[in-house]
Symmetry: C2
Subunit: 472 residues, 2 copies
Amino acid sequence: MSEQQAHCELIDEHRLSIDLIEAQYTLKNSWGQKNAKSVLVLVSGIELAGKGESVKQLREWVDPRYLKVKADPPNMLSNDQAFWQPYVNFIPREGQIAVMFGNWYSDLLTTAMHVSKPLDETLFDAYAENMRAFEQDLKNNQVDVIKVWFDLSWKSLQKRLDHIDASERQWHKLHGLDWRNKKQYDNLQKLRQRFTEDWIIIDGEEPEVRDQSFAQSILQAMKDLPEHPTQGQEHWPQALIPHELLHPDTEKMEKAKYKKKLKKLSRRVAEAMRYDERKVVIVFEGMDATGKGGSIKRIIKRLDPREYDIFTISAPEKYELRHPYLWRFWTKLDHCSDIRIFDRSWYGRVLVERVEGFASELEWQRAYDEINRFEKDLIDSQTVIIKFWLSISKDEQEQRFHAREKTPHKRFKITEDDWRNRSKWNEYLNAAADMFERTSTEFSPWTIVATDDKYTARIQVLKTILKQLQAD
Amino acid sequence: MSEQQAHCELIDEHRLSIDLIEAQYTLKNSWGQKNAKSVLVLVSGIELAGKGESVKQLREWVDPRYLKVKADPPNMLSNDQAFWQPYVNFIPREGQIAVMFGNWYSDLLTTAMHVSKPLDETLFDAYAENMRAFEQDLKNNQVDVIKVWFDLSWKSLQKRLDHIDASERQWHKLHGLDWRNKKQYDNLQKLRQRFTEDWIIIDGEEPEVRDQSFAQSILQAMKDLPEHPTQGQEHWPQALIPHELLHPDTEKMEKAKYKKKLKKLSRRVAEAMRYDERKVVIVFEGMDATGKGGSIKRIIKRLDPREYDIFTISAPEKYELRHPYLWRFWTKLDHCSDIRIFDRSWYGRVLVERVEGFASELEWQRAYDEINRFEKDLIDSQTVIIKFWLSISKDEQEQRFHAREKTPHKRFKITEDDWRNRSKWNEYLNAAADMFERTSTEFSPWTIVATDDKYTARIQVLKTILKQLQAD
């Protein structure tokens, strides 16, 4: 892969505009089709190279109502949030095209140029690699990412600074850099070359060529609407179902003993979570009626309601389906308490969506890596992830279903779906087995908890949380 | 209306818990039904009166997964945003129940107690009245609002402060008040009594009574699921259709003259918007093919793409239908540029939704006042609203439809819907007439622009913007 210097032949403006508008509407109407996609354009570059002007010109040629533009001041990269966090709400959904001036690369550059202790090359490159992996995940999920660097030589930059127009001055301080400083300019060029190898480079020298190069690149990106493959590997190496899932043995715990342990443990868990400096994410997966709700109730027993958030995850909304699968989780992790409990989670992709066929083979097979990267990003931004699979024997589940049907305040909890899922018992066990094998990572392991005895299960959940918080 | 002192008989905890859970699931399952609603609980009160404990206890009795709790530090009320702005993302949708510790009343109290120049009584009362009107709009749109004040006598408060538990100390500084100061305590009590007349007042003296009073109030609120009336007024006073809509005459403007005027005006409009200290909201409504897109293009001609946002409004998404009608606009006005252009808008409620029957009679009849209040809130928070109705003659529209069908890059713009809407021409004119009469307020007037001649129309749009910005 190498930088793509944009060269273009100037074409008739009116023609270009018509082509752009047609491509825009084709993209817009791709929504829900087999070749649906969205286009995310990341724009960065040297000040005064004309990125603002080129986007302005593009917006004049297209139908401006269907070209979103975002420009926020840069965020310093921090240990506290993943680099994509400030931007996820702006990732375009199927059929949309969006231009982001402020983006993770401008954050990377700003951080590298500004912090008192600059990023070393290894860290810089690790960030860039991580960003590229995230973009690859976007692409796999129907979000095309086009990256455009507007370049300008030192000499031209200085000349432009001499003649800067007062009305435009407001945009030039965005990066807070001193563009009269040659050393700084050279440093920036050196840094950006560490990541621009798969970018389109546009020379800002000639405004007309620059604007058309940019517009023609965007046109190309919009026009390209390939069918998305759905077929997965021909031979899927099915993992063995762990013994604990096939025979979820538990000893029976006496109520008195349970009460005593619970009292002590729930307090210790609350304190451990409250005083941990990291954010805590607790994930519950498992068959129906395994007591996810009951376990959650005991985790939060000693917490103040303002200290945690509980997310119950069910089928995605229609608008969420127009985004990458993980998008609805990216956007949930902002603006919530530091303790987040998930009653079902992003693992739906490789469980229910796999078993029920809502995700294509390719999609769920790819999801393991996507999920691992997602969790790694969370962990790198000061989060501990604790994942539970609540297992149950088939007999015990049947008994609980019947009990629910008979108990007034529990009959709401049982639906046709629950019985239907039960009929796919083995498919779910297979899916779970694959999930353990592929997503039980060193930094984010799964814990299987047998729940035929509820008391034992709840105590094990609390103990596991405590242990994992203390271990890390 | 008067304060409701919550008195309750203590009932068996297990029974109460079952009743709460049943009510929760009934509420949850009301979604999409005729009696659907959500419940928003605003909680405020004297520190240490035990609001945190009562909510914690409530969350232990209910299924905690279906009781959202939010607690943000208070926001100072400002001229810059409507009091509801920080909270709209948290208003529960149909079937949900949510508790807000931080809410517009705590903001009001904090502002009144803290600012260097305290709010005078008139302003305080005006805020409170405005809040109540907003809540009434919520209630009319299926969001029940329950307000609970946790009270505590001065003597008890002092006693509790003496024995405060270290682990709870973190919550007591939220309002940053000195709870040892009797004068301040009295002042707070006096202030809150200015708005608590329709609140439930819970005495924090006896923890058990307090918790049950609160839980029983919430139970009552969840259980009450009335059918929503849909019938409007028996005799709707239809407004007369303005002459400009029936005969949208325009003189023809020469292209050369247009170009010259456009050049000058688009620059002046850009500058007027850019340097206005207020936010600018421009609304376009009107029949299809009246040139809304073309007008928008000329407004933004001289603006940088980073300076404005364009919103194209079409049918609401399914998840948006689970919220009050205006909710999707409330949530759009955050995090966007200061210039916001709407290609169709909240007026859809009294136009397409009225004509097509998507809104009940009662709903669209009520919407005029809701919209006026909404716009007033925007205007009070430093916004100028400029509203255009683009009118067209029926003949001209037909010609444009045919032209669109024949022009490659315009054929995407014409759909079956457009022809269908055309067949309801008179219903739309009636709806527009009522809209002008009821929402063309002094602070936010409508401008009707005849568009049979596009050049004249675009120039009139620009002139109107300029005039309205300069007038205010």
